[in-house]
Symmetry: C2
Subunit: 663 residues, 2 copies
Amino acid sequence: MKLEQTETGFTLSLNGRTILDHSDASPAIFVGYGQERMDMYRGNFDIEDYVIERRALSHTEIDGNRVSLSDASGQSPRLILTLVESAIKFEATDPKLNRLWVRIKADDDEHVWGGGEQMSYFDMRGRRFPLWTSEPGVGRDPTSEMTFKANVKDKAGGDYYTTNYPQPTYVSSALYALHVDTTAYSVFDFRQKSFHEIEVWAIPERIELFAAPTFVELVETLSSRFGRQPPLPDWVYNGAIIGLKDGANSFPRLDIMRQAGVEVSALWCEDWVGLRQTSFGSRLFWDWQANETRYPKLRDKIAELRESGIRFLGYVNPYLCIDGPLFEIADKAGYFATDGLGKTALVDFGEFDCGVVDFTNEAAVEWFAEEIIGKNMLDYGLSGWMADFGEYLPIDVHLSNGVDAKLMHNAWPTLWAEVNAKAVASRNKTGDALFFMRAGFTGVQKHCPLLWGGDQSVDFSRHDGLVTVMCGALSSGLLGNAYHHSDIGGYTSLFGNVRTPELLMRWAEMAAFTPVMRSHEGNRPRENVQLDQDPEVLSHFARMTRIYRHLAPYLKSLSVEAVERGLPVQRPLFLHHQDDRQTYTIQDSFLYGADVLVAPVWQAAQEDRTVYLPHGERWVHVWTCESFAGGAEIQIAAPLGKPAVFYRAGCTNETLFAALREI
Amino acid sequence: MKLEQTETGFTLSLNGRTILDHSDASPAIFVGYGQERMDMYRGNFDIEDYVIERRALSHTEIDGNRVSLSDASGQSPRLILTLVESAIKFEATDPKLNRLWVRIKADDDEHVWGGGEQMSYFDMRGRRFPLWTSEPGVGRDPTSEMTFKANVKDKAGGDYYTTNYPQPTYVSSALYALHVDTTAYSVFDFRQKSFHEIEVWAIPERIELFAAPTFVELVETLSSRFGRQPPLPDWVYNGAIIGLKDGANSFPRLDIMRQAGVEVSALWCEDWVGLRQTSFGSRLFWDWQANETRYPKLRDKIAELRESGIRFLGYVNPYLCIDGPLFEIADKAGYFATDGLGKTALVDFGEFDCGVVDFTNEAAVEWFAEEIIGKNMLDYGLSGWMADFGEYLPIDVHLSNGVDAKLMHNAWPTLWAEVNAKAVASRNKTGDALFFMRAGFTGVQKHCPLLWGGDQSVDFSRHDGLVTVMCGALSSGLLGNAYHHSDIGGYTSLFGNVRTPELLMRWAEMAAFTPVMRSHEGNRPRENVQLDQDPEVLSHFARMTRIYRHLAPYLKSLSVEAVERGLPVQRPLFLHHQDDRQTYTIQDSFLYGADVLVAPVWQAAQEDRTVYLPHGERWVHVWTCESFAGGAEIQIAAPLGKPAVFYRAGCTNETLFAALREI
């Protein structure tokens, strides 16, 4: 990084590219203070800021790698920037300041990606992205009937930027990345032509900058910065994780699916803890231990499955329901976040209240990791679980570390991941026990072995359907999350919107080319078609699990790449085709490793797919062997069972890929 | 007004009440600059501001009645305030400034009213009100299906603050009024407990302040400031203005209604200019002259009607359609607003384009007033018309006075009113010819003899139905608009939402106690029930016109009060009951003059109404003679035909009011 004084300010450049250009006439650094309004309703936020002052810091004084900024010459500095390696350290000398705006120099034709796990727009240029972990939203499109209804009913509609996993980090097509080291509410605004504006509702620790000659090296760098995941467990390669929540009845249903030729790696029963009945239908009982009424002799069942080479997975989240036995223990021990008066804060999750385990309290972390995840889950025989939630820390609770919950809210998903990873490590199961999370934030990479794309609607909709899962995988992958997957068939079924067999099949076709295949019955199993209820769906799914298993050797090699270099399994086309700018905005197809290009059909009633094939290679269509020169868009037949998948002619695994058409 | 220096700033008080309290620690005056985004779609606006700087002007220097404000001591002033009589003059010495925020001291329990013609909330405390003339919106409630659909279809849903007639003026329960002398986009934010924040997207000319010992005197003062209307024409007292747009068929339909006992003052045919067919259905032909194909021998028909004591009204708006003969004349003469290249700017009104007559061009005003309104309308025999639109000035056109259209947009309704008034005056018809407008802004009072409440939906909805008309009358009335009325039965019928006979009857019951009764067939006459299509509705309506006519002597006296003192015909209860704070938030009943209290039924399927009767009087129920002591809320039967109406016991017109129950 290079700091240079200019006539009325300074410029800061990284590998010769100007990042900051601050002058009296066109300032890049603004500070101020505001009063925010944040209303939360079951993980959905209504947030508004009242900016009382926002002003450029016009006067600059430079001393070595230190920049003092003040309102005007002769006035005392209000903000001090210090260059430390490739980061800008911020220090506010005016305690009143709680807002910072920084303008990063931008090119007209620049593209930006990242922002955590973004579900609607992979290329973020031209839009504004608040970065605050929350429920993803239903429909996520204010112009859709679905989102309108969800908003009116529960304020739960969401929008293009709502995500379980935000992260104040972006990768620029100008071959650099920028990360804001803060957990405060922040906004990336990419709507301006000549600059990106970064807004933080605090004075952040640092802004870190990364540059590299290639996107691949840039991703490697980010992955070492944020932490790497262990390899995929060996058992995962055996087939799909089958999600059933049908009590004891789940086992015979699994057998029928196996007899139908489904390759199975694990059975996942989120209802292993039992159910409670609410007006919304049956919900899980939020007290984390096996429920032997719903699953008689579960311990033995798990052992039996294990012998037949199938693992058993469960479910956990960071809350404890007030009517469960664990609540009393945690309450007595003071493990919960409290209200203003020191009493356990209760959060309403819809007809039942819960305590929030305070993960800033070491004793509470120890207890949750050892007593709950360690003993009740791992020792009981679970090989993994959905580590749900993490985006719900209420902003009005009091925490034992004394930090404002508004500043801990974004940090929570990472703390939650750490609790899970710690428990797994305590049993030496890292790389074998597999938990998966939808929530995330900076640093979750280090602790969470697998992301899942959250709760899509059971449809093909643009902002909440099948297609959004690719966007989530590509954006989070660039920031060092190597492993991503999703609920096959989607999750959220509301207002009469239900799955079609077609959706289930298209989703399975996509999932076969991701790190993990996992099915989900959805939030309304009875109203939505299930894998084992339609022979066509079942045989199609069985074949996809065979395809997944067939590709295991290749997937293993990608897992090795992930461990060694931090490269994601699912990659944007441009990652390996940097010189082909045509690839920069593509978000509905992806590279599965360097050698396979996958273009799932993500709309209903499609018989073919239009695909752009990157320049400079020949691409072989797996189902027909037909090969195409890259650098052009082609239209290819993609009936059910034959998603548009290509491999790079001449790549190492050519024979493996060529054999796919025999399956 | 009194200006006093304080330790680090100053205070400004009006009749002993502190209005401004500006100090270093808690500043009241902020300036800055921003870049707004304003997108217009057929009169609906999507507006967003990007505030680049907003800062308090902390350093104050006072010299007599002059306050210089700068960022800090030793720095040159950026804004100068000068006290001139009871106004604060603003002068920016920094040309970069285009935003001003002023905090007016507020009390916890203060109420504020006005803001032009507000349709949703009479008491504006607790909410934020952008002041920008626009389409009112359909449903005006983002949580309603109606508004959602209108937004998706045409961005036309609106919200609680969207109005045809905004005005940056409010009346405070602390017995003062404040007016911002600007046509720029502005916002009144009444959400804070200790201050009201006034935001202006320009440095305004002045902020004017008014104080008085009583609300009545305050309203009188505002009315002299903004201008007074002529008395109601004598012919209006004869009965209702019947709106029909059925071509020649309108005349026999009128006869049938008269035979049914309807008292008629005028026939209003907005289709007097003829129709055009579009996919939205038939629209008026926007070329302002009689269409003798649709209305054969119209001139003679008008004369005949006149002999039988009935006037004829038409329709006009400030646009000319490209396919009409008048367009060519105006285009040749250069009377239209232009695009950047000097060509006539064309505005799409839905399958037809129009030119916008440039009312900043004296010659264009002359021509429109003399050739169109003068010759084609008044000389032709029209006694009035709907002077529609005025809120549609596109913000990207160029005007002959060289002023930015963004600054002329809010000014347009008043210019439009002036053109109409000028034409009327040129024929010495002021006080006889009656035009009515929905659009307005500061100063419209002086030129527009009658407001109409705009395009309500044909329903009982909270934010776009019958009840909103009262809010419109009360808010605009406080600011010197003495005469208000509405489309009986509402106007907008969309997405299958149609009138019920009940709605028509409830609306007529309310209208009988307003300055003018006027019916409207609505935007979809064939799909919505009409007055002459239902015997019950027709006889109910006939009776209401007789009630209206019976009250004519009283209404005449109110018109005299309006001319002499500027008091509105419809008044908030508190206007005459200042000491009864219970009345301060009431917006669903009103005083009709000082002596009659009207509480219309504004919801469906109601048999009675809850009414608050002001303290210190006895109130006589007109239909039963039963009298009630004020100072309490009562519940009273209010079946169809018997709206909750009371008169003040012992008032001058007691016998007149008592006789109502004989009708």
